[in-house]
Amino acid sequence: MKKLISVFFLILGIGMLYSQEIKFETIEDLESKFIYSLYGASDNDGNTIISYYNKEKIHYHIFDNQGELKQYSNISKLNSTLAGINYTDSTFNFYYEINLFGQTTGFSYVSVNKNNGTIREVKKINLLHGSGYSYVFHFMADNRLFYIASNLETEKLKIKIASGIEEFEEIEFDSVMPRSHWHFVKAKFELVDDKYRRRRLSTSSREKVYYNDGRLIFTFDNYRDMKYQFISITEIVTINLNSHISEYKSFMRDSRVDYEDNNTYLLDSILFRFSIAPNFMDLSIIDFNNLELLNNFTYLKDSVFPLNTDSLIVIKSAIGGERMKIPIKKTQN
């Protein structure tokens, strides 16, 4: 009973917190209306930072948890792209990419003190240190920066995780890719994260990364064989960052069918796999944990789809409320 009461008050507390609205002070008197690279971030206590480029500088404004402007500072403009923002107890940290011949070899860190606005800048840290590792991918998740590199000779993966300025954790794994390690290095990953800012949800990438509860999940759809033919297979590499265990598994719908292409999407523990073949399309619904086929739907080319009578499909936003209605026309097939 005590547990139930605690859960009730916890839910009530979260509900009340979300119903609050902070009235933020307006940042006024900007030097120019041409502001770009505007970013905002908050910490767990509600302290907030706004950064933007204007003229030749990067500006940082810090608000307290009541929305009042508390600190302001700026630095000279950096010619690099912002990779992400995270925070510690005392600072907001900005990570700017350092590129060398198309590879992200490190980051410039700008650390802004929440209390007094002082800035600490650490430039050009090379994360690879000439160790034979090549850059693969980086992303922000869970208030941390993940940087993934691969060593072609030793076939090891290295994952560096930054939780604060110069606070790095490094984990090394043996590669679990059964095919050429190049496949991993050459992949053009797309991070699947609804919170990821400014990203088009193209979802057509055949190489996706999911981050979920300390697990990194890489999915690879299709690959070309020696004759440059597509092999319609879904390969999955899971890396558990807590237990440091990596795992490989693969799924092939039916090797006798000449599928031309396929793509997958992981939602919770269900893998949706959409394939096209010369004369039909197939949607397979797969249990991600054991790769057991739960259901599949196959439609022949030019066949009539079963249609909903509804003329509108309402997409519910994860943020809240109805956001978009898509008009649906009936097919003429």
Binding site: T26, R200, T203, N308, G320, R323
Partner: protein, 122 residues
């Protein structure tokens, strides 16, 4: 090769609709004339020619398809919000969304007043 390009690239995205249903978006990306290979998804050389929306009901384990013949942009949720804001006021410049302990907020530049405002998303 031409036949393959004409078929397009399959795309799939899934979203929870409620406790029992999931909506799945199945799209075919086709390349515009004059462009070959690469650049799928969001790049100027590609667009979704045909988006098929499927509802997957976990309870009934059934699937219903709706087929859209019309071309339209496929926005992410953030982009939909951006669009809504632009619809409300075209004088808004750069924009960003961030999560605060009290909910989602949007920061945007008001060009006329040369200021940056922060509002809670309703």
């Amino acid at each position: 090769l031409i036949r393959k390009l004409n078929r397009g690239i399959p795309s799939v995205k899934a979203n929870r609709l409620n406790d029992t249903s999931t909506v799945i978006f199945l799209g075919y990306y086709f390349h515009q004339k004059g462009t070959v290979g690469g650049g799928a998804g969001g790049a100027p050389s590609t667009y979704i020619d045909n988006l098929e929306v499927a509802f997957y009901n976990k309870v009934l384990t059934s699937l219903e398809f709706n087929v859209s013949e019309a071309f339209y942009e496929y926005y992410s949720e953030e982009e939909i919000l951006i669009k809504e804001l632009y619809d409300r006021d075209e004088k808004i410049g750069d924009i960003d969304f961030f999560q605060h302990p009290t909910g989602w907020y949007v920061a945007f530049v008001e060009k006329d007043s040369k200021s940056i405002k922060i509002e809670k998303l309703k």
